[in-house]
């Protein structure tokens, strides 16, 4: 029976069939569903780690213990995990280790579109690039064979379109190899310089052997259709090329792309008159072909930015375009993502945006949407966990420049545990009068609700250590800490007044309210009044001032003719932020249904 699987589901299935025993990840689109699906296979110990570096380190440890292990993360997560990656790349493996990198061309849910194929070349490790769900499954299994045969961590490089597209896969049974015995051997797993120098020599030798594998593996395959035009391609770009050219050209489809099979590519080049390289993002293949003296056409016609698709390739190479239906652009209003109705972050942003002389440093999470209209409360954001450290530097710089602006840094609970905690340590240790805000909604929200060290549960739903955020903050050296309910605007405003009063020491505000979309835990139900009875507008009282609309809640509807606000009863969750904003008290909650 063939099943329709996403690439992420197929990677999970491949890990299951390959006998993987330990898997760890930090959630990040488009990689999140890999571990969520691995977690469905109870034979595999699956864990959400606080961040990607920790995930990969735990996976390396499991590999050294002798079992097969897998780490999954989004492309920018590999940056966080690059320290253990670059070091462990020098060593051999015991049990096989696979690192899945899910890249995001066109930045659908990311701050950059870095091409992580470069990491494989940089770290001198093996790499597979699947183009379909079946290949995701097959390549994971082959990756373990390569990992253990050649003694290398293997990178499985996916892209959003591979992760989130479904195609048919054929399933097999799980086969668990016998764990490799752990034997103490410093020369293998200690990276002191004396051993690292030997490892360095061995990894160069390993690359030579992997090159032979690359020349021979059926994952690097020539499709000869008797044409004088050839296309070298990898990953999803292969599917797009097939869509455009069908059987009218010859293909060299590369599934194993580090190291490249240069001899095979050269022979393919010699078999055609004209060679195109079709690849998304960086000229990763093209540059290596050029270095080997293989004449080809790549980024001269194929864009170096954004996701590819058949239309782009057709236009670039054939100069052809499909006929399309014209439509007046003024009839299409943008529909950007917004904070959900009832989002606990809304109250905080609404109060913060009233402050003058404030620079707000944001971070990565749903609260990135606090920077959009009409809340518009953000000045900048750099990368996961950066808000407090960037705010610290900003404040120190302002102090030198004599700028008296207040600096507010904002991270979510999961982002705080990820790497924000290090930034807060910096603020406390090197002392800056930064206002640090932790938006604790008791879940990892943006990626679709994963447990984290603060939620009280593990990925498998087991109760976990209860972590007291206020105690953690105090233990880091912060003396001024206050917890508030962000949906109570007066309380929120009073907390900001308090925080703005400190001129020579840092303070922390923790906003506490669970994500409105979260499946509430017994503790959530105990700690909060989570009744979701919606609000209604008394149209006799409503003066049509639109003040409520400045909260940016998508449950509000304004009728421009009647000049009245209404509230969508399907969408409203009764958070009452709009009711507190209304100057004539026209909004109230329906009779509670409890």
């Amino acid at each position: 029976m063939r099943e329709l699987y996403t690439g992420d589901e197929a990677v999970a299935r491949g890990a299951y069939e390959a006998g993987v025993s330990f898997a760890s990840a930090y959630p990040g689109t488009p990689s999140t569903e890999i571990l969520e699906n691995i977690g469905q296979y109870h034979e595999i110990t699956s864990e959400w780690a606080p961040n990607e570096k920790v995930a990969l380190e735990a996976v390396i440890g499991a590999g050294i213990s002798g079992v097969r292990s897998l780490a999954a993360m989004k492309h920018v997560g590999v940056n966080v995990a690059s320290d253990p990656l670059m070091s462990y790349a020098y060593m051999g493996v015991n049990g096989g280790v696979v690192l899945v990198s899910a890249d995001d061309p066109s930045m659908y849910s990311s701050q950059n579109e870095q091409d992580n194929r470069n990491y494989a070349k940089f770290a001198k490790i093996a790499m597979f690039e699947p183009s379909s769900s079946q290949e995701c499954l097959d390549m994971v299994k082959e990756a373990y064979r390569v990992s253990e045969t050649y003694g290398t961590i293997v990178l499985l490089r996916m892209t959003t379109r591979v992760c989130h597209s479904k195609s048919l896969v054929t399933l097999s049974d799980r086969i668990v190899p016998k764990p490799v015995a752990y034997v103490k051997d410093l020369s293998r797993f200690d990276d002191v310089p004396a051993y690292a120098k030997v490892h360095r020599h061995e990894m160069i030798e390993r690359s030579r052997k992997l090159r032979q594998y690359s020349e021979a593996t059926p994952f690097n395959v020539i499709e000869d259709n008797g044409s004088t035009t050839g296309i070298v391609t990898s990953g999803i770009s292969y599917m797009y090329a097939k869509e455009v050219f069908g059987d009218s050209v010859n293909y060299l489809k590369l599934g194993f792309t580090c190291p490249l099979p240069i001899d095979k590519i050269r022979a393919f080049r010699d078999s055609v008159q004209k060679l195109y390289v079709i690849e998304e993002l960086d000229p990763y293949l093209e540059e290596q072909l050029c270095a080997a003296g293989i004449d080809c056409i790549g980024k001269a016609v194929i864009p170096e930015e954004g996701e590819l698709n058949p239309d782009i390739i057709r236009k670039a190479i054939l100069q052809e375009q499909n006929e399309t239906i014209p439509f007046p652009a003024e009839k299409i209003v943008p529909r950007p993502p917004t904070l959900c109705a009832g989002c606990p972050h809304r109250g905080f942003f609404y109060v913060l945006k009233q402050r003058k002389d404030t620079v707000m440093v944001g971070d990565i999470g749903c609260y990135a949407l606090g920077g959009t209209e009409p809340l518009n409360a953000k000045d900048m954001a750099i990368c996961m966990g950066s808000a407090f450290s960037v705010a610290h530097g900003l404040k120190k710089g302002f102090d030198v420049a004599g700028v008296r602006t207040k600096v507010v840094g904002i991270v979510g609970d999961s982002t705080f545990y990820h790497t924000g905690i290090n930034g807060l340590l910096e603020v406390a240790y090197n002392k800056s009068a930064v206002i640090c805000v932790i938006l604790d909604n008791r879940i990892t929200g943006m990626t679709g609700h994963q447990e984290n060290p603060g939620t009280g549960y593990t990925l498998s739903g087991e109760p976990a250590n209860h972590l007291d955020l206020e105690e953690v903050v105090k233990a880091l050296g912060i003396r001024q800490v206050r917890a508030v309910n962000p949906l109570h605007l007066d309380e929120m405003k009073a907390a900001l007044d308090w925080a703005y009063s400190f001129t020579d020491e840092p303070c922390v505000i923790i906003t506490k309210w669970p994500c409105v979309l979260k499946k509430y835990s017994p503790e959530d139900k105990h700690d909060f009044d989570l009744d979701k009875t919606p609000c209604v507008v008394d149209t006799a009282k409503c003066i049509g001032c639109r003040k409520c609309l400045t909260t940016g809640c998508p449950a509000l509807r304004f009728d421009p003719e009647a000049k009245k606000t209404a509230i969508s009863q399907e969408d409203c969750t009764g958070c009452q932020v709009c009711a507190q904003v209304c100057p004539v008290k026209a909004i109230s909650r329906k009779e509670a249904s409890k």
Partner: protein, 192 residues
């Protein structure tokens, strides 16, 4: 050899486009087609514009639909049909829920909801506008609007030789089987 057909589902995050496409692909796989489906989620989920693409035939290469090449667009909201219309083949079919969900610039009063979208679409495509939300509400569950639209899609594609009732029954929660089967039939009846 049957040629590849492409269906594009569009709407607003939370409207149930994914369930409708799931029912479609299940039926197509059972029928023996090669099927690919693609969706983008992540940030776009939060009340943003969402789309799911389904392609099926003997052999499908690209999981995504090129411009001017969708056979049918199923739009769960009026303006979303316009947003994705460049993907429809000229003269192709549009099944549209005549429901309007204001986006943030409209809510914020920066602009108003555009008028005349369905009339404009009718000049270029075979448009079937359905009050799917109203039909679903009259059947007792407004959330089954997605299956009303799905019924109309099955009719538009002429895919009547698949046992959709069994597939719907095997996909939705038990308590909602009856209402969804009624929604499916009501949707089919909107296209002669």
């Amino acid at each position: 050899m049957s040629k590849v057909q492409s269906v594009l589902f569009v709407g607003v995050g939370g409207q149930g486009t994914i369930l409708a496409s799931k029912v479609l692909t299940k039926g197509l796989v059972e029928k023996g087609y090669d099927v690919k489906m693609s969706e983008i989620h992540g940030m776009s989920q939060r009340s943003g514009s969402v789309s799911t693409q389904v392609r099926f035939g003997d052999v499908v290469w690209s999981p995504i639909i090129g411009e001017g090449s969708a056979d049918v667009i199923v739009s769960f909201e009026e303006m979303e049909a316009a947003r994705y219309i460049q993907f429809l083949k000229p003269g192709g079919k549009v099944v549209i829920n005549d429901c309007r969900i204001p986006s943030m610039p409209i809510l914020a009063g920066k602009t108003s909801y555009p008028q005349g979208i369905i009339d404009e679409l009718k000049q270029h495509a075979q448009v079937t506008a359905i009050d799917a939300t109203g039909i679903a509400a009259s059947l007792g569950n407004v959330k089954s609007a997605n299956i009303v639209l799905f019924g109309a899609l099955v009719q538009a594609l002429g895919l009547n030789d698949i046992d959709w009732a069994a597939i719907i029954a095997g996909t939705v929660k038990k308590a909602f089987i009856d209402v969804n089967l009624k929604a499916f039939e009501a949707g089919k009846a909107t296209i002669a």
